[in-house]
């Protein structure tokens, strides 16, 4: 690009930036308190809408002027709804409050905003270093993270493009437009960025292939079809900072020479769809997208396509079929989509996280990115850590951190003094790893070596009460349901895997089942075309490998060691502990299986019992009389008194 063109781009962007800066300064310097509320799906699910309403009402009631700033998600799901209150007049720094329900919101308005008392018992931490309140940065959950992709998530209003621009957003696009496309691809290649969709293909290489396709029309697709039932980082990024993804897409499109781009978002993410659509509109209005971007010769139109909920559409060729209006079934590769993709045009498909990594890389340079993470896998990884873990939520860590420090240091370990049993990484395609792997370093290669995979980035931590056979059954149930049906091994093989696992969890396992599961799994892996079938048996294979004793207990002893498979367990009341006349269990039982014995203690009618475990939860801890055993025949016989005549009259 020539000198005059560059100057024009700078001139146009400076105008936009000045406006953004003006708005930001006006917001920052206004003396009124600012209330930042996290309003992504997770926050809303925890009641952020009510919290916001309560703040508005309370501000009205006490006649206080304050500004409510809705932001995205910080990733601290365990603490939702999260509110940060910046009250400069009080002398306190911005304070992070967790689990702010409507009542807490009203209280904070009255006591903090009005009377200046931050209520220390509710404070989680301060957002910056100061002498009065310990900073959140002292918590490992905050200071061990390295935020590259999610840096601005939860700090800016996703529905206001100026908020992003004021924080340096879109300046990388300006920088990119002044570079030669080859230089951009070179930089991305040097950074060592690998696709964050799971497979880890070098992004720069993909772009180069697309670029080399010549002058024909090309398409860029952002894959946000996040199907793993336990991962939601793509949604969070789109909901909290859509512009970083759009900026990454624009840079990618410019580098490979595409004029058309599509964001493929699941329709199940209505908020993400709305926010992204709005973000595209705002960017187009400011001339950051559309015809002649920022006055340059580069055009880009971005559309949103709503995926209709099929796990397999995360696979790139299936995703393409789905946009074309067909059943989302994968096809054989090669030709790869970069050669022949959507409507037979060269198509670059990148994950949300990959594209969102691009602006920081170009901004700080490839060497900076190489400095984060490991030699082979630079950069950061985002995990949604869920299950039996204290600080569940989204965590962005540099590659190479060990599983132990992720689970125990950053996420606070296992709640309720339970023991760690296994961690399932990579969702339905990944594997279960046991305690011996806790010192494994997280990166594409070491996880694959251990038998799991990066996959979607879903991470489920399981404690000693989780049955590995049942967890494998759960994942198989999911993949079986989502198998598109194209390959026989995947379609019928996963069905039989599921049937065997169902039998095992019902206590009907037979000798030889484990071997059958193993051979079947290997066949499915070999006989399937796409990643879904190739990885679907992973949960089974890894759990057999590391927890074979549990499978054996299910088959030979008809016993579930974790006491989770319901057909194999039974509940009873320890009559020595059961309190006479206490009715807690009987009232909560959904099927009225609890009866009163002749001495006014309790017994369980094993035929009626559905084994929901509710009685165990409600039994007062001072009695703690409910016992769970496996196999069920270990239950002592407790006589049920004959039906009283009460019913007759």
């Amino acid at each position: 690009m020539n000198q005059a063109g560059n100057e024009k781009i700078d001139q146009i962007f400076n105008g936009i930036y000045k406006e953004a800066e003006k708005r930001r300064n006006e917001f920052r310097e206004s003396p009124v308190p600012k209330i930042h509320i996290g309003m992504a799906t997770c926050g809303i699910a925890s009641g952020a809408l009510e919290t916001k309403k309560a703040f508005e009402e309370a501000l009205d009631e006490y006649n206080i002027e304050a500004r409510i700033h809705t932001v995205g998600c910080l990733g601290h799901c365990y603490a939702e709804p999260v509110v940060v209150i910046d009250h400069p007049d009080s002398g306190f720094p911005p304070i992070f409050y967790h689990e702010v329900n409507a009542g807490k919101a009203k209280m904070l308005v009255k006591l903090f905003l009005k009377e200046g008392d931050p209520r220390f018992e509710h404070v989680y931490g301060a957002m910056e270093e100061n002498d009065l309140i310990p900073s959140v940065m002292e918590f490992t959950r905050f200071n061990q993270e390295k935020r590259v992709v999610m840096e601005k998530c939860g700090r800016i209003d996703p529905e206001d493009i100026y908020d992003y621009i004021a924080q340096g957003g879109y300046s990388t696009l300006v920088k990119a437009l002044k570079l030669d496309p080859d230089e951009i691809i070179k930089e991305v290649q040097n950074s060592g960025l690998r696709g964050r969709g799971g497979a880890g293909f070098p992004t720069g290489r993909k772009w180069e292939l697309a670029k080399s396709a010549g002058e024909q029309e090309k398409i860029v697709i952002c894959n946000a079809d996040e199907g793993d039932p336990g991962a939601y980082m793509d949604r969070t990024i789109l909901e909290s900072n859509p512009h970083q993804v759009i900026e990454g897409m624009a840079i990618c499109a410019y580098a490979v020479g595409a004029k058309k781009a599509i964001i493929y978002v699941r329709a199940e993410y209505p908020l993400a769809v709305n926010i992204v659509t709005k973000a595209i509109r705002q960017a187009t209005e400011l001339g950051l997208l559309g015809k002649s971007v920022l006055g340059s010769s580069f055009d880009l139109k971005i559309d949103v396509f709503r995926g209709s909920g099929a796990f397999v559409c995360g696979e790139e060729t299936a995703l393409i079929r789905s946009i074309e209006g067909y059943r989302g079934m994968p096809r054989h590769r090669p030709p790869y989509p970069v050669q022949k993709g959507l409507w037979n045009k060269p198509t670059v498909i990148n994950n949300v996280k990959t594209l969102a990594s691009v602006p920081p890389i170009l901004d700080h340079g490839a060497d900076w990115y190489r400095g984060i993470g490991t030699e082979n896998t630079p950069g950061t990884a985002i995990f949604s850590v869920v299950g039996n873990v204290v600080h569940a939520g989204l965590v962005e860590i540099p590659m190479g951190v060990s599983l132990r420090s992720l689970i125990f240091d950053i996420c606070g370990g296992i709640p309720n003094n339970k023991k760690f049993k296994a961690v399932q990484i990579g969702g339905p395609s990944g594997g279960c790893l046991n305690e011996d792997f806790l010192d494994t370093h997280i990166d594409f290669d070491s996880l694959t070596e251990a038998g799991a995979m990066m996959g979607s980035g879903g991470m489920v931590v399981m404690d000693e009460d989780t049955c590995m056979v049942e967890v494998s059954r759960y994942f198989l149930d999911f993949t079986q349901n989502e198998s598109c049906g194209k390959c026989t091994f995947c379609r019928i093989g996963t069905y039989h895997l599921l049937k065997i696992l169902e039998r095992l969890t019902r206590g009907e396992g037979e000798d030889g089942d484990i071997e059958l599961l193993e051979t079947l799994s290997k066949d499915i892996k070999e006989g399937s075309l796409c990643g879904l079938g190739k990885t679907a048996p992973n949960p089974v294979l890894t759990s057999i490998k590391y927890f074979r004793d549990e499978y054996e207990a299910h088959i030979y002893e008809k016993r579930c060691p974790a006491l989770m498979c319901r057909p194999m367990i039974a509940f009873y009341f320890d009559l020595d502990l059961c309190a006479r006349g206490c009715d807690a269990c009987a009232t909560c039982c959904p099927v009225e299986a609890v009866f009163t014995t002749s001495n006014r203690k309790k017994g369980v009618d094993q035929e009626l019992c559905v084994k929901c475990g509710e009685c165990m939860v409600v039994c007062p801890p001072e009695y703690d009389a409910v016992r769970k055993v496996s196999p069920p025949h270990l239950v002592p016989y407790i006589e049920k008194p004959p039906e009283k005549k009460k019913k007759e009259d």
Binding site: E80, P229, Y232, A310, G387, Q424, C612
Partner: protein, 177 residues
């Protein structure tokens, strides 16, 4: 189950037919069109499939083939109070299956079905994205966190009571006039 179109649905169907004109006759528009129909009608009745197939000039069976492939599309009307039970990984580990079973037992229907009076429908969903609150159920639009089997009964009872109260005030209003 009564799958005949209600008068409101017939009206909505007419609206759908007129809206179809704004979509170009391209195969790529099939899924967006089906999504639009479901937004208006809450499900895809046979009549709607017919209109769509005529508009795009593809066979009805093709339209069905695509629609049944994707989890989003439903072919039966949902209940007035749709119940969605999350069975994502975190909810499953914390007993989401037991919650689903309780709803099924209380309402006497299976997941994916609607009660004969079209009041309730039960559905399994994969991860609603609040894993820290597991297990989770969504009734109407409200997310109920940390579900327990005994909570199921209470929630359903609340809806019943609210309905009864509504009817009572309605009768009162009418008699007042």
């Amino acid at each position: 189950m009564n799958d005949e179109l209600t008068p409101e649905e017939k009206e909505a169907l007419k609206h759908v037919a007129s809206k179809l004109e704004s979509f170009e006759k391209q195969r790529g528009n099939l899924i967006p069109i089906l999504q639009m129909v479901q937004e208006k009608l809450a499900y895809l009745p046979t009549e709607a499939i017919k209109i769509v197939s005529e508009h795009l000039e593809i066979f009805e069976c093709e339209v069905y083939g695509v629609a049944t492939f994707y989890n989003q599309f439903r072919f039966h009307p949902p209940g007035k109070h749709p119940i969605k039970v999350c069975l994502g990984t975190a909810c499953h580990v914390r007993g989401g299956g037991i919650i689903l079973e309780n709803f099924e037992r209380k309402l006497g229907i299976h997941a994916g079905e609607t009660t004969p009076d079209r009041e309730f429908s039960v559905e399994k969903v994969a991860c609603v994205g609040c894993c820290a609150l597991a297990p989770v159920a969504i009734i109407d639009e409200t997310v109920h966190a940390h579900m327990a089997p005994s909570k199921v009964e209470g929630l359903l009872m609340r809806i019943e009571i609210e309905k009864e109260m509504e009817e009572r005030t309605k009768i009162k209003d009418e008699s007042g006039r």
